[in-house]
């Protein structure tokens, strides 16, 4: 893996005595699409701003292509940012916005014109060159912001919740657009979002952050299928997370019932978190599953039904293709392979999930 473009070493940062980033290490490969994912206040934006050069870490170093850039001001970094609020220059037209960086570099008029034309085509905004930025829609403004950054041929593009202000339909469209642009220019993207669906769709690698530390790192599939702790499980997709006790390898007790699973390597009788995705639960006849419950709620969601089943003191969330009558008693089935067993969090950092409720 000699293709590391950016290396963050032991980064810490506090604001007003509050720790935002805590001894964080992260390597980013060339050409990767990395997403920093986490709830607001988890430190992901601060980390992005440290890479961009807008915030200086209290401790730790930032290496870019092997060179220490920790103290380099933003204007001297080969990294450009696309901001959430677009931040186009309101006193310039679209073409001047896009040409801003190239003009500062004193490129020739022809070169600039050529580059601007290319960038405008890249973001599908040809013909808007003379428009004032204030007359554009949010989606159009964000396209220009991307063009304005890309045109300078940065080695890395930082995107700070760039689609956060757009409506759902436009967001989906822009996600595809971003992946296309990424493919065409072939540079590293570091993307910040709190939207897990966005992260799962676009990223080569997701970095789940909370309370200033990395909770889990991996591909979309590994993060979704094998969350390493309750925070990740809860934050990525919907999850049933209940207390369980590991009887022995491949056997866990939930609700006083022993259920088969595929996890090994826990201490006998260790208290664990059991994670089951709602779509993995199946509703059947009473007394036929691993537990019984009363259907308390049924919501039609178009592609599936969202069903709540109360069993003991826990309310299961189930996604099912078939409805179940409210107040009826049903059984719940689960395939052992779809049960995730996780160690209980030890540090307070990992316990946010309890606070999140």
């Amino acid at each position: 893996m000699g293709d590391t473009i950016l290396e963050l070493k032991n980064i810490s940062k506090s604001f007003d005595g509050k720790k935002i980033l805590d001894d964080l290490c992260l390597n980013i490969e060339k050409n990767e699409f990395v997403t920093l994912l986490g709830p607001s206040g988890c430190g992901k934006s601060t980390l992005l701003r440290i890479i961009g050069g807008f915030v200086k870490p209290d401790h730790g170093q930032v290496y870019f292509e092997g060179g220490d850039i920790t103290s380099l001001p933003p204007e001297r970094r080969q990294v450009h940012t696309v901001f959430q609020k677009y931040s186009l220059f309101p006193h310039m037209n679209v073409a001047d916005n896009v040409a801003f960086g190239l003009k500062l570099k004193k490129k020739s008029r022809d070169y600039i014109a050529e580059k601007v034309r290319y960038a405008m085509r890249l973001v599908n905004m040809e013909g808007y060159e003379e428009r004032m930025t204030t007359s554009l829609s949010g989606g159009q403004q964000q396209r220009i912001a991307i063009a304005r950054a890309i045109v300078n041929e940065p080695k890395m593009l930082l995107l700070d919740e760039p689609l956060g202000a757009l409506d759902l339909k436009l967001r989906h469209e822009m996600q595809r657009e971003l992946m296309r642009i990424k493919q065409e220019v072939g540079i590293t993207f570091v993307y910040v979002t709190h939207d897990q669906e966005e992260a799962l769709t676009m990223s080569d690698r997701i970095v789940v952050m909370n309370q200033g530390i990395i909770q889990q790192m991996g591909t979309s599939k590994s993060i979704y299928d094998e969350p390493q702790n309750a925070f990740v499980a809860d934050f990525i997709g919907d999850s049933n997370i209940i207390n369980g006790i590991m009887i022995r390898d491949r056997l866990v007790m939930i609700h006083g019932v022993e259920v088969e699973c595929v996890d090994e390597g826990f201490d006998p009788n260790e208290a664990v978190d059991v994670v089951i995705r709602p779509e993995d639960l199946v509703i059947g006849k009473k007394d036929s599953g691993f537990t019984n419950g009363i259907v308390t709620n049924l919501i039609y969601k178009g592609a599936y039904y969202d069903i709540s089943v109360a069993a003991g003191d826990y309310e299961w969330s189930v996604q099912s293709n078939v409805p179940a009558a409210v107040n009826s008693e049903v059984g719940l089935f689960i395939d052992p392979e779809n049960i995730q067993i996780m160690k209980k969090p030890r540090s307070s950092d990992e316990e946010v999930i309890d606070k999140l409720g």
């Binding site: 206040g41 934006s45 601060t46 050069g53 915030v55 933003p74």
Partner: protein, 270 residues
């Protein structure tokens, strides 16, 4: 290191400007404690001008006139100006533009021209006096109120009025309890601006006052040749300190209103 120096330099510059703005005020405050009628001789420390202030009826009358004028003109301007801002904001583009142009006239015109024009007009139907000065002050104050209130009107949520009516509030109640609070910020600063402008005005008052009426400004102007009474310094010092205290209180009240997101921002290496 360079940053430290720059920060030091900019603080030093602020200090120089403050020195420039406040040195004449310091001179006046010192004069108010000077035990001599002359402006150029220091006769020792005294507070007798402050005591004498209580017995000087001429100053008392001028002070009363000044404050009454400032209050009345600011208040009437507030009422007319706020209503005007509401009205103008809902006008069609052309009349909107025309009204804003007229509003700008007293602000763009030289004070002396405004004062003379008002004087030439008002003497045609009434004698100059307190009334004419009041009219003049209202005239130059309304634009300040309109300009202060207008931004609030533009961001105001009109549907709140309809929601209030829908929930059973009477029209007047809906207006005063739901609409005006949305404008209160602009109205307060508009009133304060108008009050200050009225207190501070000399030129327009000078041309529209006629004989017999004096504000502090015109009284002081009339005394330049004879020599300023030291009581005036004492009075100015007192007003200055009073306003200083009021501004300090006002400024410290909404202190902890930090914009969200600010804490993640930090400094941009500067």
């Amino acid at each position: 290191m360079v940053e430290k120096l720059k920060s030091l330099l900019s603080r030093f510059y602020i200090l120089i400007i403050i020195l420039f703005l406040y040195s004449p005020i310091a001179v006046l405050i010192i004069l108010s404690f000077n035990d001599s009628r002359s402006r150029v001789v220091w006769g020792g420390f005294t507070i007798r001008w402050y005591a004498a202030l209580l017995h000087n009826s001429q100053i008392r009358v001028a002070l009363g006139t000044t404050f009454l004028l400032a209050f009345l003109s600011a208040f009437i301007s507030l009422v007319i100006g706020t209503a005007a801002a509401l009205g103008i904001a809902s006008m069609k583009k052309r009349s909107h533009k025309l009204m804003m142009m007229i509003t700008n006239i007293p602000m763009l015109n030289a004070d002396i021209v405004t004062g003379i024009a008002l004087m030439l007009w008002i003497i045609q139907f009434m004698p100059l006096g307190f009334g004419s000065v009041l009219i003049a002050h209202i005239t130059f104050n309304i634009p300040y109120v309109i300009l202060a209130v207008m931004p609030k009107v533009k961001t105001m949520n009109i549907s709140i009025y309809n929601a209030g009516r829908d929930l059973g509030a009477g029209p007047l109640r809906a207006f005063f309890e739901l609409m005006l609070p949305q404008l209160s910020g602009g109205m307060i600063s508009g009133f304060f601006m108008a009050f200050t402008m009225s207190m501070d005005d000399f030129v327009i008052t000078y041309f529209t006052k006629g004989a017999g009426v004096n504000t502090l400004s015109t009284m002081i102007y009339g005394e330049i040749k004879k020599g300023i009474k030291p009581e005036i310094y004492a009075l100015s010092t007192m007003i200055f300190v009073l306003v200083l205290v009021i501004l300090m209180i006002m400024n410290n009240m909404p202190a902890k209103e930090k914009r969200k997101g600010e804490e993640e921002r930090g400094n941009v290496y500067d």
